[in-house]
């Protein structure tokens, strides 16, 4: 209960931390999504598919790298501030998106691509009208993973002076205020749950009903 009291009494400050957190995550997710899509599409084009296959292995393994390691490494180059956090989150967040984009695009059956070319689609039309719609489910799943990861990892980014909800938890830790630690944690968890639910809704709308298994 004291966590809620803390939130109510410190709302303007908490609100500022929340918006810092959101913009940090938002910027990073955008960069990850765009670069993940671009790289994923690029490395699944004819002639580059082997690179794509290698990427599935690499990105699969890369998900095991601890987020703090990436933040620390970027910190060594860019120093204190939100910029370090955004760069680190962007790089870290590419991994699940790239993994899902590449593996889903590689899974589009060759006959499907041939049918698309056979009816006279240009390579760009094949990508936009066939490949991406067929991969949509998996791509949005990757995006959901990245958003959840980024929201929690952005908390840790407080240690490099990036601000955000992590500040509340870390301050709570140093002054031994469990109510602050719980309050910060609740906000981070709530944010993650809400955004994931939102993306689940998006997913239902971008994935064709024809691709959803009907019993």
């Amino acid at each position: 209960m004291s966590a809620f009291r803390y939130l109510a009494q410190n709302w303007p400050e908490v609100g500022a931390k929340l918006s810092q957190h959101l913009s940090m995550v938002g910027a990073a997710v955008l960069v990850s999504l765009v670069s993940g899509l671009v790289l994923g599409i690029l490395f699944t084009r004819p002639g580059l598919k082997q690179v794509g296959q290698a990427l599935v292995g690499i990105t699969g393994a890369a998900q095991a790298i601890p987020s703090i390691a990436v933040i620390a490494l970027i910190f060594a180059y860019t120093g204190i501030g939100a910029r370090t956090a955004i760069i680190a989150l962007s790089i870290y967040g590419i991994v699940p998106i790239l993994f899902n984009v590449v593996s889903a695009l590689l899974l589009v059956p060759a006959e499907m691509l041939e049918a698309a070319m056979g009816v006279g689609m240009t390579p760009v039309q094949v990508l936009l009208h066939v490949e991406l719609p067929l991969a949509a489910q998996s791509i949005v799943t990757g995006l959901r993973t990245t958003v959840t990861l980024d929201i929690s990892t952005a908390t840790v980014a407080s240690v490099v002076g990036a601000g955000g909800l992590g500040d509340i938890i870390f301050v709570g830790l140093s002054v031994v205020r469990p109510d602050m630690i719980v309050a910060g944690t609740l906000l981070v968890a709530g944010l993650a749950i809400l955004s994931d639910a939102g993306l689940a809704l998006v997913q239902r709308n971008v994935v064709s009903r024809g691709l959803v298994h009907t019993p």
Binding site: E114, G118, T214
Partner: protein, 362 residues
């Protein structure tokens, strides 16, 4: 409508030759089957016609124009392409699938909808029921009909069909084949149809091109091919189908049942209606055949017209297949086979033809 000519067409993959100096003229308005064992180059040949595969050398012409000089995308949009059921886009509705090519061609939404409705009607699917369904809500046979409708969407002169019914169970495959034959008899497209199913080839093909190891072994009208296989390979490939087809394509006169007597209706009216041991009496007045009477049903009769069974007359020069077709279409039990002068040669019925085939195939 287009004729497709392949001249000295070769396709090599590394040091493997998939198609070797293939020269073939595919006539217009007809169904030409590319038939052969797997790996014979038939699918490669098909895909070279819409440039999904580019030949290593040689020339392919449609209506005298070399396709190498055409824009591949435009070429493909002008040719209908039907493949196994996987060819439907699962994320599009039936309407979306049928409308794929029209959309690429920039038709407006209303025109696409109207065309989709028209084509569903053509392939015997109710538009209101099917337009908004997804492929995973259709049976295999329905998917294939939609696949054919999609290929016809922009009214192409040429249809390329790559084992379109291959993934369908035998019973539904037969009904799809009948559906396709009916459709083709209305539309008269130039169809190139790849299959490895000999029965399907003989049933659907006006012409059959048999391929082996990338070479053309024989290209002929279907009945020519069955009657005069070029070599042992063709004979063996056609195998049992050939004997069955050959039987059906041989002259009806050879197989008629001659156990009958002919008498006039006048004779019968007078009470002479005994056929002795023959099972059948054929009644005629002068040149006109009135009908026939099965033995036992009637020996004498005041009004034979009432007891007479309806019948069909077929020419003895026709094939057994024509007799079968006549019987099936008319629903009659028996056909009376006549010579060109109108003389009665005998009769044929379905059970008899079945017995002939059983005997002939052993």
């Amino acid at each position: 409508m287009p004729v497709i000519e392949l001249r000295e067409v070769t396709k090599r993959y590394g040091d493997k030759t998939a198609v070797d100096r293939l020269t073939l003229t595919i006539p217009d308005h007809a169904v030409t089957i590319l038939l052969g064992p797997s790996g014979c180059g038939k699918t490669t040949t098909l895909k070279m016609i819409n440039r999904l595969i580019e030949p290593t050398s040689g020339d392919i012409r449609i209506d005298g124009r070399s396709i190498a000089a055409m824009e591949p995308i435009a070429l493909r949009r002008s040719i209908g392409y039907v493949i196994q059921e996987t060819g439907l886009f699962p994320h599009y509705t039936v309407e979306g699938n049928i409308g794929v090519v029209p959309r690429l061609l920039g038709w407006d939404r209303k025109r696409i909808r109207a065309r989709a409705e028209e084509l569903l009607e053509l392939v015997n699917l109710k538009a209101v029921e099917y337009l908004d369904r997804y492929p995973n809500e259709l049976s295999g046979g329905e998917r294939q009909r939609v696949g054919v409708a999609r290929a016809l969407a922009a009214d192409p002169g040429i249809l390329l069909m790559d084992e379109p019914f291959g993934a369908i169970d035998p019973i539904n495959r037969r009904s799809l084949q009948d559906f396709f034959l009916g459709l083709q008899s209305d539309l008269h497209r130039t169809v190139v149809f790849v299959t490895h199913d000999i029965g399907e080839a003989v049933k659907l093909g006006d012409n059959i091109a048999i391929m082996r190891d990338g070479h053309l072994v024989q290209m002929d009208a279907t009945h020519e091919l069955l009657e005069h296989p070029a070599d042992a390979f063709v004979t063996e490939l056609l195998g049992a189908t050939r004997s069955a087809e050959q039987l059906l394509l041989s002259r009806a006169a050879r197989y008629v049942d001659t156990a009958f007597v002919v008498m006039s209706t006048e004779q019968m009216r007078r009470g002479g209606g005994s056929s002795g041991n023959a099972p059948l009496i054929v009644l005629r007045d002068g040149d006109t055949i009135k009908g026939y009477v099965e033995q036992g049903q009637l020996v004498t009769c005041d009004d034979p017209d009432e007891a007479i069974c309806a019948f069909e007359t077929v020419s003895g020069n026709g094939t057994l297949l024509e007799v079968v077709r006549t019987l099936l279409e008319s629903g009659r039990k028996r056909a009376i086979v006549v010579d060109p002068d109108g003389g009665v040669l005998g009769t044929l019925s379905m059970p008899m033809i079945v017995r002939i085939m059983e005997g002939g195939l052993q």
